[in-house]
Symmetry: C2
C-alpha cells in the first residue's frame, strides 16, 4: 500500500464515466479546473463519447500507464475493475461506489472481498463509498462533488470521516481564508484509514496542521503512534470527534467501570496524545488555521491591543475561560503607551486605544509597537481585520494594511490577529491579505480566543511531552494460576503486596478466637471484613464491621459477618485507620484504548460528583500529578480544616506504580480497583482491593 502514490498520480482513469452522473461530471470538471496536468482517461463499457471526450471500453484499452483509477461503476462491477486494474499494474484506486459495508450484510461481504483482494495484490484504495480527495497542494482533485471556487491552497490537511461535511468545511475554510493542502473524504476505510492519511500528512511538506472529523478511531494503537509522530514533527492535530453524548458503559464488574464512558477515555487519550479536541466545525478550521499561521506559541501571557473598550472587556472574560493570562504591562510599556493613547483612555492590558483610531490611523499601529516590546508577554493579540468591500481607490487601504503587516512580521513575539465577530473574509479581504502579507485573522473574539487557548495548551503539552522520556516498558509478571473471575480483597491485596505496593496489614482468620488474637496483635480499634471468592462490594451485604474497640466487639462482629455472608473463605482482620484523605484508584480495560487509569477522591466525590481524572496507560508520576490536579476536589489533598497536606509526589509515585503493576499483569487483567487508597501525609496505603480477570 502506498498512500503517497494514491495522492500524487500523473494519470487518472475515470472508470464508469457517464454523462448521466453528476459525480462523473464533477470529477472531470474538478480535475480540469484545479490544475491537474497529467493525463485523464474515461472508461465506459459502451465506449463512445463521454463529457465530450472519447471513452475507452475498459482499463485494458488505455494504451498508457494509469496511476489512479477513480471507480464509479455499479457495486457488483467494482471487484471486476480491481481485477482488471491489478492485472494491468494499476496500484491506486478511489472507489466512489456505495452499497458496501454501510448497506448491510451482503455489502459488508463484498467489502471484505475488496479489502482481501487489495491486501493480496498490494492495492491502495480510498473508499469505497467516499467522494475521493482534493490534493490542493499538487493540483490533483479526483473528487466527486463540486468544489466551490476559489480552492485556497495552504497548510491545513483535512481528513473527514463524513463526506457530507466536506462542502461545509471547504466553504468555511474559504470564508476564513484558510488554505488546505489535502482534503480526504474517507468513505468506508476498507483499505486506507484515517491513520494512514494522517501518517502521510505528517511527512507531507505542504501540510503544517492536520484537521480531523472523526466518528470513530478504528485502531487506537496505530493512531496513537502516528499522533506521537505528529507531535514530534511539530504538526498539531486538531480533531472534531463526535460521540460525546453517547456513554457506552463498560462491562467490567469493578466500580470504576461504571464511571468511565467511552468518550471520557477517548477524551483523555486524545489529550495525552496532544490532539486538540474541538467541538465545532468552526473551531476545527479556525484553530487549524491559526496553528498553520503561527506554529507553536511560546507561552500564555497575552498582551491585547484593541480599538474598543467593549471588545477588550469581552476579551478579558474569554481569556480567563481559556486559561490565558493578561498580565499588567511593564512600567516602560505603560510610559510609552501613555504618550500614544489619548488622555481620556486608560493604559492597561487589555489595551483600548479608543475610538480615536478613526481620526488617527496610525494610533493602533504605534500602540501595537509598544506592546510588542513589552518584556513580560509571550504573544500579542491584535483586534483587527481586513475590510470587506473594495473602496473606489484601494491603494490607501492596501498601504495601511501593508504597514501593519510589516510591523507584525518584524515583531519579536507572535502577533495573533482576531476580528470582533465571525463574518466572512470577503474576496477583497483575501486580496488585501494576499497583496500585503497581512496575517491570518482568527475569526471573532469567541472562536479566536478558543483557538489561541488551544494553541497555547498544545504548545505547552508538546514541550512537556518531548522533554519527558517515554515511560519504561513494564516487565510482565507471571500471572498467578487460577486468575479468572473476581479476586476479592484477601487475594487481590496479597498480589498487590507481592508487587511491592503498600497495603494495610491484614490477617485472614476462620474462628472467633483467631480474630480476637489478630486484633490484639494489631491493637484496637480493628476492622473485620468478610473474605469470599467472587465477593465484590462486601459492605453492601453486611460483610464489613468498622471501629471494633474490644475483644467482645470483635467476637460479636465475627458472628454477624459470618452470619451475613454465606460460604466465606474466612474473615479479614485489619487495624482501623483514621484520618487522611481517601482516593479511589481504578484501572479498567477500555475495549479500544486498553488499560485506563481513573483516579478520584473516594466516597461521595466519586459516587455523587463522578469526579475522576482519566489517563490511558502507561503513565508516569508527572502525569498522575497532573491528573490529581484536574480533580474538582483537588484542594482536599492540600489539607482542609487542619488536615495534613498530602505528599503529592509520594501519592503520584504510588499511583504510577499501581498503574505499572496493573500493566505487568498482562492481557488477562480486566480491572484492578483500590478503594480506598488512604493518604495521610506521606503515609499511603491500600485499604481494600479488587481484581477482575478476563
Amino acid at each position: 500500500m502506498s498512500v503517497g502514490e494514491l495522492f500524487n498520480p500523473r494519470s487518472i482513469a475515470l472508470v464508469g464515466a457517464t454523462d448521466k452522473s453528476g459525480w462523473s461530471i464533477s470529477t472531470l470538471s474538478n480535475l480540469r479546473t484545479h490544475g491537474f496536468t497529467g493525463s485523464i482517461h474515461l472508461v465506459n463499457p459502451r465506449g463512445g463519447v463521454v463529457h465530450g471526450l472519447p471513452a475507452r471500453r475498459s482499463l485494458t484499452e488505455i494504451a498508457r500507464p494509469v496511476d489512479l483509477a477513480y471507480v464509479m461503476v455499479p457495486t457488483a462491477a467494482v471487484l471486476g475493475v480491481l481485477r482488471e486494474g491489478a492485472k494491468l499494474g494499476i496500484r491506486c484506486y478511489v472507489i466512489l461506489t456505495a452499497g458496501f459495508g454501510e448497506a448491510g450484510e451482503e455489502g459488508a461481504r463484498l467489502e471484505a472481498e475488496v479489502a482481501g483482494f487489495a491486501a493480496e495484490h498490494g492495492l491502495t484504495i480510498l473508499g469505497p463509498n467516499g467522494n475521493g480527495y482534493i490534493n490542493a497542494a499538487a493540483g490533483v482533485t479526483p473528487y466527486g462533488l463540486p468544489i466551490a471556487q476559489p480552492l485556497l491552497r495552504g497548510g491545513v490537511g483535512v481528513v473527514l470521516q463524513s463526506g457530507a461535511l466536506a462542502s461545509s468545511v471547504l466553504s468555511f475554510a474559504q470564508a476564513r481564508n484558510v488554505g488546505i493542502s489535502l482534503l480526504t473524504s474517507m468513505g468506508n476505510e476498507s483499505v486506507v484509514t484515517v491513520t494512514d492519511v494522517v501518517d502521510y500528512l505528517v511527512n507531507d511538506p505542504a501540510t503544517k496542521v492536520i484537521a480531523l472529523f472523526l466518528e470513530s478511531i478504528r485502531d487506537p494503537a496505530a493512531f496513537a503512534r502516528v499522533a506521537r509522530r505528529a507531535l514530534e514533527a511539530g504538526k498539531p492535530i486538531v480533531a472534531l470527534k463526535i460521540g460525546r453524548s453517547r456513554l457506552a458503559s463498560h462491562t467490567a464488574q469493578a466500580h470504576t467501570g461504571a464511571l468511565v464512558g467511552d468518550d471520557d477515555v477517548i477524551d483523555a487519550a486524545l489529550r495525552q496524545l496532544g490532539v486538540i479536541r474541538v467541538r465545532s466545525l468552526e473551531d476545527l478550521i479556525i484553530t487549524a488555521g491559526l496553528l498553520a499561521s503561527t506554529g507553536a506559541l511560546p507561552g500564555r501571557r497575552v498582551g491585547v491591543v484593541t480599538p474598543s473598550g467593549g471588545a477588550s472587556e469581552i476579551i478579558a472574560d474569554r481569556a480567563e475561560d481559556e486559561g490565558l493570562e493578561l498580565p499588567p504591562f511593564a512600567p516602560e510599556t505603560v510610559a510609552r503607551l501613555a504618550e500614544i493613547v489619548p488622555s481620556f483612555g486608560t493604559v492597561q492590558n487589555p489595551l483600548d486605544v479608543t475610538g480615536y483610531v478613526l481620526i488617527d490611523r496610525t494610533l493602533l499601529g504605534r500602540a501595537l509597537e509598544a506592546v510588542i516590546a513589552d518584556p513580560g508577554i509571550d504573544l500579542v493579540m491584535l483586534l483587527s481585520e481586513p475590510p470587506k468591500l473594495a473602496p473606489p481607490d484601494p491603494a490607501p487601504v492596501l498601504a495601511t494594511y501593508a504597514a501593519s503587516a510589516r510591523r507584525i512580521a518584524a515583531s519579536p513575539v507572535p502577533v495573533v490577529v482576531v476580528s470582533n465577530v465571525l463574518t466572512d473574509i470577503t474576496e477583497f479581504g483575501r486580496e488585501v491579505q494576499r497583496e500585503t502579507g497581512f496575517p491570518y485573522v482568527a475569526g471573532g473574539i469567541e472562536h479566536g480566543l478558543h483557538a489561541i487557548g488551544a494553541a497555547v495548551r498544545w504548545s505547552e503539552l508538546r514541550s512537556g511531552a518531548l522533554s519527558r522520556p517515554p515511560a519504561p516498558p513494564t516487565a510482565s509478571l507471571t500471572v498467578p494460576s487460577g486468575a479468572t473471575g473476581v479476586w476479592a480483597e484477601h487475594r487481590a491485596a496479597g498480589l498487590l503486596a507481592s508487587g511491592g505496593l503498600p497495603v494495610v496489614p491484614s490477617e485472614l482468620v476462620r474462628e472467633e478466637a483467631e480474630a480476637v488474637a489478630a486484633a490484639e496483635r494489631f491493637g484496637y480499634p480493628v476492622v473485620l471484613k468478610a473474605a469470599a471468592e467472587g465477593l465484590g462490594h462486601k459492605s453492601d451485604v453486611g460483610g464489613v464491621r468498622l471501629g471494633l474497640g474490644s475483644g467482645e466487639e470483635v467476637r460479636q462482629a465475627y458472628r454477624e459477618v459470618t452470619a451475613a455472608v454465606p460460604s466465606l473463605d474466612g474473615v479479614l482482620v485489619q487495624p482501623q485507620r483514621r484520618g487522611g484523605v481517601e482516593l479511589l484508584v481504578g484501572i479498567v480495560r477500555d475495549p479500544a484504548w486498553g488499560l485506563t487509569l481513573a483516579v478520584g477522591l473516594g466516597g461521595i466525590w466519586v459516587e455523587v460528583l463522578r469526579d475522576t481524572a482519566l489517563r490511558v496507560l502507561p503513565v508516569d508520576a508527572a502525569e498522575v500529578r497532573a491528573a490529581l490536579a484536574e480533580l474538582r476536589g483537588t484542594a482536599l489533598l492540600d489539607g482542609v480544616r487542619g488536615g495534613q497536606p498530602a505528599d503529592l509526589d509520594a501519592v503520584a509515585d504510588v499511583v504510577a506504580r499501581i498503574a505499572a503493576f496493573a500493566e505487568s499483569l498482562g492481557d488477562g487483567l480486566e480491572s484492578l480497583e483500590i478503594n480506598p487508597l488512604l493518604v495521610n501525609g506521606s503515609h499511603i496505603e491500600a485499604l481494600d482491593a479488587l481484581i477482575t480477570w478476563r
Copy 2:
C-alpha cells in the same frame, strides 16, 4: 423625559455641523440615506455653507420647530446649546460630544451639571459621549458613524453600552440577515439609561426581541421591573453582560460573603428575571434573531432533519449540551420515513436523509413533512441554508426554496432552520429569503443549537414565572434595639426562633453546674459552644466541644471553652444531633441587587467546591427547590449510602421562610448565615446562626 419623542423626531438640528468632522458628515449622510423624511437643520456659529447646505448660526435662527438637537459642539459649549434649546422648547437631544464623566473630575462635574439642567427642564438626552441611535423601523438615523449598507429592518432592538461595538453588531446582524428595529449607542447615560431604552422597546410594536451589551446595570431595581415587564409582554431580552472574570468580593463578615462574586449575583439575577445571558456577540445576535423569528418555543423535544450523517452526530452532541431532547420518532413516523429515506439510510432521530438529496431534490422536504407530523416532538430543526451565489437562472432555486418555505409555514410545530457552519448569508441568500419567505437561518450548528437551547429555556422560565404568583410582600419586623455589629449564635438563634424558624434547643449557662444540669435535661450527648458578642467563627478559636457523653465530659469541656475564649457572655448547651445532611443557608446584601440567598451543601462542599446556588430575594419555595437542584452535590439530598432522603418540599419551605425572615429584618441587615441547617428527612433545624448588621 420622553424616550418616545427622542427616537421619533420630525425635525432634527445638527448642532456643530462642520465639513471638517467625520461625525458631522456621517450623521447627515445617514439621515439622508436611510429614509428620514422630516426636516434637517445645520447649525454652525460661523453660518455659511456646510455639507453643501446653508447653516444657521444658532438654534434660535431656525425658524421652524426642532424636535431633536444632535449636539457635536466642543465640550465647554454643550451646556450653552442646552440652555438655548430649552428656551426654544427643544425637548430631545443626542450629545455626541465627549470629555465628560469618562475624562476625569472636571468632566464629571460638567456632566452632573448637564444632568441637573436636564432634570430641571425635563430634557431627554442620549449621551453624552455616544454616537446616537439608528431607528431603522422609523427611518430616523441620527448616528455619527457610517452605517454599512444595507440597513436591515426587523424585530431586534439593540442597546449597547459600548459604542465601538455597534459596527460589529450591525455587520454581524447583516451577515445573519437579522433586521433591527432600533440600535442605541448609550454613551455615558447621564439622563437616558439602558433601562429607559428597554422600557421603550417593550412598548415598541416594531421590536420583538431586545439585545443588550452591558458593562454595568446602574439601577438594578429599575432594570428588574422593566425586565419583568418584558417577560410579561413576551419580549425576550438577550444580554451579553461582561465582567464575568472580575470577582468582586463582598465586605460582609459572614462566610457566605466570600463565596459570592458580584458576577455570580448578576448571573443569578438575570436568570431569575428571564434575561438570556450569552457570552459572545455571535450568540447575542443569533439568539435574538431566532426568537424574533419564532417567538416562544413550545418544548424541548426536537426532531432533527439533515442531509448529512456527520452533521447529525454533531447535532446529537450539541443538543445534549443544551439540554434538548431528541426523542425516538413515533412508529407511524418511522413507517412513513422508511418509505422516503433510501434503503441504505437509517431512520432515527436525528434523521440523516443521506447524500441522495443531491439526486432527489424532494427528499429533504418529504422527510421534513413526515417529521413535522410526529406527535412526540415540540419543534423541528432542519439543516439547510440558502445558496450563496446566484446561478445564471435563479428561478429553479427560488422555486425550491419557496416550496420549503410553504412547507415550513404550514407546519403545526415550529421549524428552526440551522446551517452547518457559520458563514455569511450573502446578498443572494437574503434575496432568496426575501422572495420566497424562507425563514431565518440560525447560523451554524454550534451557535444555532445554543440559540435553540436558550430560546427553549426562556420559554420554559417564562411560563413558569407567569404561572406563579409574585412572592407576597414580607411584613417588616421591628428590628431589635442594639442591632449593630455581629450577633453571635446565642442572640442570632433567638431572633430566628422568635420568627418561628426551627432552631436546635439551646440553653445559655454561666457555670459548670448549670451546664451539666442543662445537659441532663437534653440528654447526652451534648455540645458546648462559647457565646460571646461579636464572636464569628467560634470553632476556629477552640470555642466548640462536640459529642460530650457525660457530666464529667461536660465539666471538662466547660473549663476548656471558658479558658479558650476570654470575655464570654456564657456557654451554650445543646443536644448533639447525628446523621442527616448539612446545608449552608446564607443571605448576604449585594451592594447592587440587595439581599441574595446562597444555598449549598455544608462543609467541604462549600469550602472546597464552592458549590452554592444563588437567588436574589424574594424567592418562593419553588425557586429554592430549583436552586437545590442546581447543586453539583444535589444527589446527597436524595440520600446516598442508605441515608434518609431529604424532604425537599420541607427544606425548600424552611429556606424560603428564612429568606423571607431576612427580608423582614429590613435595611439594617447585612447578612444572615445558618451553617449548618441540618436536614434529616423532614426534620429540619438550624444548628448555628450568625447575623451581621450594617
